[in-house]
């Protein structure tokens, strides 16, 4: 077995390989909470990239779906006493609805107008949740999102144990990544890529572009909503900044950092971003400045992003075959 076949083997089973890596991932991180954060933001970025990297639409409102997923999971648990597992589904469902609402209004526009409409609608949602203090805790965020212990035939699943928490969240992320990978490998997956490449030709080929855009937007919102739901459980609180447009900007940065043209690029970007943030905040409170410099350097010298450049190099050297990484 040579390196060539190893690389291609990994590429063929991209989700399985990634999930195996993520199983040992917490051991490589300084502490579990960071690993969990990376897992959640990685999923958020992968979900976002369905619209951004794969369909070619730059949304500046994706915090909405992260936030709505978080809040509705939290509201279901805190105000209605729903168990955390069904509460996750409540959060995802709510983000799908939010995705339908924002998507329906935004997909009629293109380019910068699309970005602006998603940004504006994101702000509408932000203020709606901000003002609904009775339900969302307003400025203080929604507190008390505590996942109770599950007793599974004598097996105690305790969310307070960070490593247990990591692996439970891993399970949901695994499911979602597998789903996204399936979708991208489907006929519909090539329709959205065609839209990114040339909308006019996609229409001429017989595809309803508006419908396809709405569908992928809603799917993307659902994935981001799941990330949000998991985040609420991870933090035990839903901070109001979940919905803030800075959050939307951050996920764009993560996708670009890792590489928007690849499946795992955004995940890698999220990991690098958060790891760097973790180190840099200990050194200086002006860490965002350092992030900015890193970001600019990457855009200038590695426009394909960290992961995207790696995949590109492997392909150039004939180590990797096929259309996709």
């Amino acid at each position: 077995m040579n390196l060539h076949s190893v690389v291609n083997g990994i590429a063929r089973h991209r989700v399985a390989s990634a999930l195996l890596f993520l199983l040992i991932f917490p051991l490589l991180m300084p502490y579990e909470a960071l690993a969990i954060n990376i897992l959640i933001y990685g999923l958020f970025a992968v979900g976002f990239n369905l619209v951004f990297g794969y369909t070619g639409m730059l949304s500046f409102g994706h915090a909405s779906f992260l936030g709505v997923g978080s809040y509705l999971t939290g509201i279901a648990m805190v105000h209605f006493g729903v168990h955390w597992i069904p509460a996750i589904f409540v959060g995802v469902l709510a983000s799908l609805v939010a995705g339908l609402f924002v998507g329906y209004l935004a997909i009629r526009t293109r380019g910068i107008y699309f970005s602006m409409v998603t940004l504006a609608l994101g702000q509408v949602i932000y203020y709606a949740f901000y003002k609904a203090e009775r339900w969302t805790g307003g400025e203080n965020g929604l507190r008390g999102v505590n996942a109770e212990v599950i007793d599974l035939f004598g097996l105690r699943i305790d969310f307070l144990n960070p490593l247990t928490k990591y692996y439970i969240i891993w399970l949901f992320v695994a499911l979602a990544l597998w789903l996204v990978s399936r979708i991208l490998a489907s006929p519909f997956g090539s329709v959205i890529e065609s839209i990114r490449e040339n909308e006019k030709r996609t229409v001429a080929c017989g595809y309803d572009v508006a419908r396809a855009k709405l569908l992928i937007f809603v799917i993307s919102a659902g994935i981001c909503g799941l990330a949000g739901a998991l985040r609420a459980l991870h933090l035990s609180v839903v901070p109001v900044d979940s919905l803030h447009y800075l959050q939307s900007g951050q996920v764009v940065m993560m996708a670009l950092l890792g590489g928007m043209g690849s499946f795992f690029g955004p995940f890698v970007g999220a990991g690098v971003f958060l790891y760097f943030e973790d180190i840099a905040t200990n050194v200086t409170k002006y860490w965002m400045g350092a992030v900015g410099l890193l970001f600019m350097a990457l855009i200038l010298f590695f426009p394909r992003g960290i992961w995207g450049s790696l995949m590109y190099q492997l392909k150039q050297r004939g180590m990797l075959q096929g259309d996709r990484e």
Binding site: S186, P187, E193, N198, K200, R201, C205, D208, V209
Partner: protein, 248 residues
Amino acid sequence: MMPSPLIEVRNVSLHYGRFKALSNVSVSFAPNQLTAIIGPNGAGKSTFFNVLSGALAPTTGQVLFEGQDITSMQAHDYARHGIAKSFQITNVFKQLSVHENVRVAAQMRYSRYELFKPRASFKQAIEEADALLGRVGLLALRNKTVADLAHGQQRSLEIAMALAAKPKLLLMDEPTAGMSPEETSAMMELITALAKERTVVLVEHKMKLVMGICERLIVLHHGEFLAQGTADDIRNNDEVRRVYLGQG
């Protein structure tokens, strides 16, 4: 008796404000015929083409395909009904492979929004794509990224993509635009071959080019129907000569 037309345009006008791009044009196209729409610059050829292919809705008038009114049909439904087009300015998926371009076009007839079945399982679309690439002479380049292809090759790819819809009617907007003389004559040969199996309508600026291969020519001028007939009819038509020669 004339066979019933495959596509028919009835009293079509298209106005941009006060500018009349097309005025009351009525033409019909018999099945399996190769027709060229010609005319000097600004004659309304491209507008007419866009009305035929559903890219523009006429201000008044009707378009009938196999007797059905398709005037208000959505642009994406044309391919499914058997109307395909190649664009004047190449419209392909530049960052995808040559094969993937045609495969996506062929996939339309099997699956459009399926989410969970792998596209690799739609073998027919894959095989059809390769067969079409063979036909237009691009099979050897199937794994190349389209952006790396020469202009003429991209034009051929366009045609393979249009054919992937298995159209009854193939509309071509200046298929030889920007091509070298060799590429042009190869393209003309391909078009002649394609027209044996289906109806082909092409818009062409270069009149001499189409005179040799088209069974029928339609001349537009200032958005109006001017003349139609065989190459000889058109060549000997005084009005056509005046229009073409008159503008030097």
